[in-house]
Amino acid sequence: MPVTLIRNIEKDLVYRLKDFFLTMQDFFLFGVRSFLTIPKIRRYWRDFLDQAKICGADSIPIVLVSAISIGSLLAIEVGNLLEDFGAKTMLGRSTSISVIRELGPLLMGLMLSARFGSRNGAELGAMKISEQIDALRAFGTDPIAKLVMPRLVAALIMFLPLTALSDFAGLYSAAYMAEHYHHLDPGIFWNSVYPRLALKDFVVGFAKAPVFAVIITLVSSFNGFSASGGTAGVGRSTIKGIVVSSGLVLIANFYVSKIVLENM
């Protein structure tokens, strides 16, 4: 009995591993094909513009909210901490680095994965189960070129200005809190921000944008494309897309910082 049990577990494990690697292979090919179809962007210009609006302009509120909340929160908490050491004049430096390098991009990445990623996953999943993706193929159109590539290019481009916006809003809300909560002179705050900010701080922050764009778009679209099993299936694949892309955003956030900071 235990032998068959072990054998069954082994069989199950092998099956799952095989399934996992096959999925990874499919995902890899999916990603490669999305990049290879970029030359067709002129043909799907309208789709690109629609997506640029969805992931760019329409994401402004959520990016602002997350940047402002992280900026103000950091200013308040770090300010309290620095006060204990009598080093409140350093507030600008410590918050600006967090906002620009780490927490700003990270929170933005998570928010966009929830917003842009979930939208992609649900929309493409619904198209998959209503056979619209098969219909595209039946009419001789490559669904990756028509549906995924415009989303990818839009995210690659639009995440950059969103990062700039997030930096700007985060810093200004930190400055506001420094002045009104900690009663720190704005001149002192900005003086500790500007001279110390180095190019690499911005490189770290802005390098994260395209990395997150690729992760969020490809993971959510891939999950949408593999949706099956009716409306509940769309729900499942959308959730899976968000969970996986959020996890990957967290991991990528760490590695981009590490790689850039070690090499600059």
């Binding site: 056979e131 619209q132 219909a135 039946a138 001789g140 159109t141």
Partner: protein, 244 residues
């Protein structure tokens, strides 16, 4: 001409089609009958290369398609029009964009020519006034007519209908059937019609194939159905509608 040769298809462990062979000649209308879930829609998808058989071969005009890459399949698919069971209209596009989709994607036609052909289809399908609506605001019968128009607009030489009359009222379904039979007279078009409804078979089809438990149990001229001894065929002839 489309030919399936010894095609088998499995989903995981479950075998849906078992060594199915089927030929669809040009300029004929062939009906495919069978109970729900037997794999009729699957057969149409195999013919378009949307799915690949587990074993066996699929030929379209003499070309074996099951080993072709997706890019190589596109020119083959452009010879065929497909009306999906659930219509599969692009729900973010208007009716005229749906109708003009193939022309804009695949043919280098001037915009006026595209608009002219779209207008022609709109009139043909009786959808005047709905050009700029989204599919969601149309009735079931109208959507079906858009789906048919979308498949006809590029004048394919073979068209695959998946349940063109299911769920329609008798008037709409009569309209669609007469449309299908008129196509052959005017355009020399071959067609495959998947259906549940036995009357449709006698109304439009020249020949019929019956798929039952993964195998073809009948493949001959439609009137010969009456001569068959097979219990399943006898039951559908007496009940008129296939049991679910």
């Amino acid at each position: 001409m489309i030919e399936l040769r010894n095609v088998s298809l499995k989903y995981g462990e479950k075998e849906i089609l078992h060594s199915v062979s089927l030929t669809i000649e040009d300029n004929t209308i062939k009906a495919i009958l069978g109970p729900s879930g037997v794999g009729k829609s699957t057969i149409l998808k195999l013919m378009l290369g949307l799915m690949r058989p587990t074993s066996g071969q699929v030929f379209v005009d003499g070309v074996e398609i099951s080993s072709l890459s997706e890019a190589e399949l596109f020119p083959i698919r452009r010879k065929m029009g497909m009306v999906f069971q659930g219509n599969a209209l692009f729900d973010s596009m208007t009716i005229s964009q749906n109708l003009g989709f193939f022309l804009r994607e695949n043919l280098n036609l001037p915009e006026e020519e595209i608009l002219r052909r779209v207008q022609e289809q709109i009139r043909f399908a009786g959808l005047e006034g709905y050009e700029e609506q989204l599919p969601e605001s149309l009735s079931g019968g109208m959507r079906k007519r858009v789906a048919i128009g979308r498949a006809l607009i590029f004048k394919p030489h073979m068209i695959l209908f998946d349940e063109p009359t299911a769920g329609l009222d008798p008037v709409s379904s009569k309209k669609i059937l007469s449309l299908i039979s008129s196509l052959r007279q005017h355009n020399n078009l071959g067609a495959v019609i998947v259906t549940h409804i036995i009357d449709d078979v006698f109304n439009v089809a020249d020949c019929a194939a019956v798929l039952y438990k993964g195998e073809i149990i009948f493949d001959d001229a439609a009137p010969k159905l009456h001569e068959s001894e097979h219990p399943f065929i006898r039951s559908i002839l007496s009940d008129k509608i296939l049991e679910l």
